[in-house]
């Protein structure tokens, strides 16, 4: 097969997966909501009248068989209709979409910071493998992996906002308010990126072509960046893709600690208010974001590394 068709068939295969996986997600969500008991009780506040109950039962087709209910749930969801939030007095979808940018901004910023710091430290520790800097960096990485990120957030608030009063605890609108939440989320990603970079760099530094390049007299710095880093890039991208669900989900806790107005906190609030339409909309839309990002990641890695397309 030519390179062109190769890429296209790979892309097509991956794209077909999205609706299939989405169907699975919807089935899980539908199954959860419906096995929990009477949906009307879940959806309506306890003080709802009998008429409101009857109206909702009819609206949600709850008087129909289960497969028909699932069908209409699918059909409505595909049109972006996850129901009406009684708590917020507006459609669930629009509430979630309103909060999504804040979460994506935080996640995106943390990923960028994490890539910068992670790759930098990873290269440093690979070049100094076995020496003090390497050991220290690895120790900090293990520590970072082992901390609950919401606790790290609390401690950062305590040190930087309360004790030294250098930074505000949070604040969606100011640049300074971004620092602590971004650092907290980034701290969760850095160890992994760092270790992946380190492994890939050490491996590629041992390769024959590095020796050849060195023999040609190319400066070490150029070698490290041009040849070493290139090999590290793909696993890093892939791992970030896989982490995204956890990152957006883990942001639930970070957002709660920092009072960040994102979807994660919205999801938690909605669950505590028993605001089921918002809960379902949050879960499904977040899953969709993760799926689409993973698709982009897959396509990107296929573009960078031809081996991915073949496997």
């Amino acid at each position: 097969m030519g390179k062109r068709t190769d890429v296209l068939s790979f892309a097509a295969k991956r794209m077909i997966r999205v609706p299939v996986v989405l169907l699975f997600v919807m089935t899980v969500v539908f199954g959860l909501v419906h096995s929990a008991g009477n949906v009307v009780d879940q959806l309506l506040p306890p003080e709802a009248t009998a008429e409101q109950r009857a109206e909702l039962t009819r609206q949600l087709d709850l008087d129909k068989p289960l497969w028909a209910q699932f069908g209409s749930f699918l059909a409505r969801s595909l049109q972006g209709d996850f129901g009406f939030s009684v708590f917020y007095h507006s459609p669930a979808t629009s509430i979630v979409l309103e909060r999504l940018p804040a979460s994506l901004m935080l996640a995106g910023l943390s990923i960028m910071v994490a890539i910068g710091i992670g790759i930098g430290l990873g290269i440093l520790s690979a070049v100094r493998a076995g020496r003090f800097a390497d050991v220290l960096i690895n120790a900090v990485a293990v520590l970072g992996q082992s901390m609950p990120s919401f606790w790290l957030g609390q401690m950062l608030i305590l040190v930087f906002a309360v004790k030294f009063q250098l930074l505000p605890t949070s604040g969606y609108n100011s640049l300074a308010g971004l620092v602590l939440p971004t650092l907290t989320l980034a701290a969760f990603l850095i160890p992994q990126i760092l270790l992946l970079t380190r492994t890939a760099m050490i491996e590629s530094l041992e390769q024959q072509y590095m020796l050849t390049a060195q023999a040609k007299g190319l400066p070490t710095r150029l070698l490290v960046f041009r040849h070493g880093l290139r090999n590290a890039l793909n696993p890093i991208i892939a791992s970030i893709g896989l982490q995204l669900g956890t990152l957006l989900g883990g942001a639930v806790l970070t957002e709660s600690v920092f009072g960040w107005p994102g979807v994660g906190r919205l999801g938690v609030e909605a669950i505590l208010h028993r605001d089921l339409p918002v809960v379902v909309a949050t879960v499904v839309l977040l899953a969709l974001v993760v799926m689409l990002t993973n698709l982009a990641v897959d396509l990107l890695s296929a573009a960078i590394d031809p081996r991915v397309r073949v496997s």
């Binding site: 699975f24 082992s146 791992s239 639930v252």
Partner: protein, 301 residues
């Protein structure tokens, strides 16, 4: 979460280890420092959890209202009656930490065990069956991994109420796909080895082939994933309990203590600091141990 990288490495190493023509040269067995330190930490925590009643005289939920919010013994105003101080209800922090270890370790181990059984079984089935079945299983893995675990767990807790058993099951539900995703590729590559084809050709039943040839070859991956997964479960459990949807509030749990601590974070730092350190130290132990295991079990390193 954080372990995926090590997990991926574990799988990759396994795959590479198989086609090796010659057995790896025998080396003298030396216990790796990470294995020893990690194992040591784990033993200390396990002992603390098991012998909690012997190590403290305080009931973790008993309220000593005379001594509310007292600091640890070594700080001004602290007393040796409550070694690590008390919380806002006058409950002994040290006892709560000891008994909380039972929940953290118990829930994490139980949920990982369930997730491991389900995940390994599905990986074996997917790796061994036709395109449709394996496609079905792997797409459900994709689906589960695109759902944020914290939100799924929260949703279940909100819909079904929270108890320790439900919490364990939910954590297991969010964890099995990691096993299946990593092991699927390993199983596939083992299946294509000559000795497996040979045993299939001699007419062995699929189940026999899986148990006698495939399972032993993925065992080290399973062990490593399991260790690292336990750390992940400890963190997730702490997070859910922190949000009030994990271990029920009537029981001592580190996450619940952290949630209480947040209310007093400006005045009584120890209420947040100590349970956070307990979680971190336990997970450091698990991660070090897992990393040590990974390196020890992989002949390539």
């Amino acid at each position: 979460m954080f372990v995926d990288q090590s997990l991926a490495l574990a799988a990759v190493d396994d795959k590479r280890a198989q086609p090796a023509a010659a057995p790896p040269p025998r080396r003298r067995h030396r216990i790796r420092p990470s294995l020893a330190v990690g194992g040591g930490i784990l033993i200390v925590f396990a002992l603390a959890a098991v012998f909690a009643p012997l190590l403290t005289s305080w009931d973790p939920m008993a309220q000593d209202l005379e001594a509310r919010l007292s600091p640890p013994a070594w700080v001004d105003g602290g007393s040796s009656t409550h070694l690590l101080g008390t919380d806002s209800f006058g409950r002994d922090i040290f006892s709560q930490l000891l008994y909380g270890a039972r929940y953290s370790i118990g829930v994490a181990c139980a949920s990982t065990l369930i997730a491991g059984l389900v995940g390994v079984a599905l990986a074996l089935i997917a790796g061994y069956s036709n395109r449709w079945t394996s496609g079905l299983i792997m797409r459900s893995v994709d689906a589960m991994q695109s759902l944020p675990p914290v939100l799924v767990a929260l949703m279940v807790a909100a819909l079904f109420g929270n108890s320790v058993v439900k919490l364990t099951l939910v954590l297991a539900v969010t964890a099995w796909p990691t096993y299946t995703r990593i092991l699927f590729n390993v199983v596939r590559s083992v299946r294509e080895q000559d000795f497996v084809s040979a045993s299939i050709a001699t007419g062995q039943r699929p189940l026999n082939v899986v148990v006698s040839h495939i399972l032993p070859n993925v065992a080290s991956s399973i062990i490593v994933i399991t260790t690292l997964q336990i750390g992940r479960m400890v963190l997730l459990e702490a997070g859910l309990s922190f949000l009030g949807l994990g271990v029920p509030l009537t029981s001592p749990a580190w996450g619940t203590m952290l949630a209480d601590g947040q209310k007093y974070i400006h005045t009584d730092v120890y209420l947040s600091l100590l349970p956070g350190l307990a979680v971190t130290l336990l997970v450091v132990g698990v991660n070090l141990f897992g990393e040590g295991l990974r390196r020890t079990l992989n002949p390539r390193n």
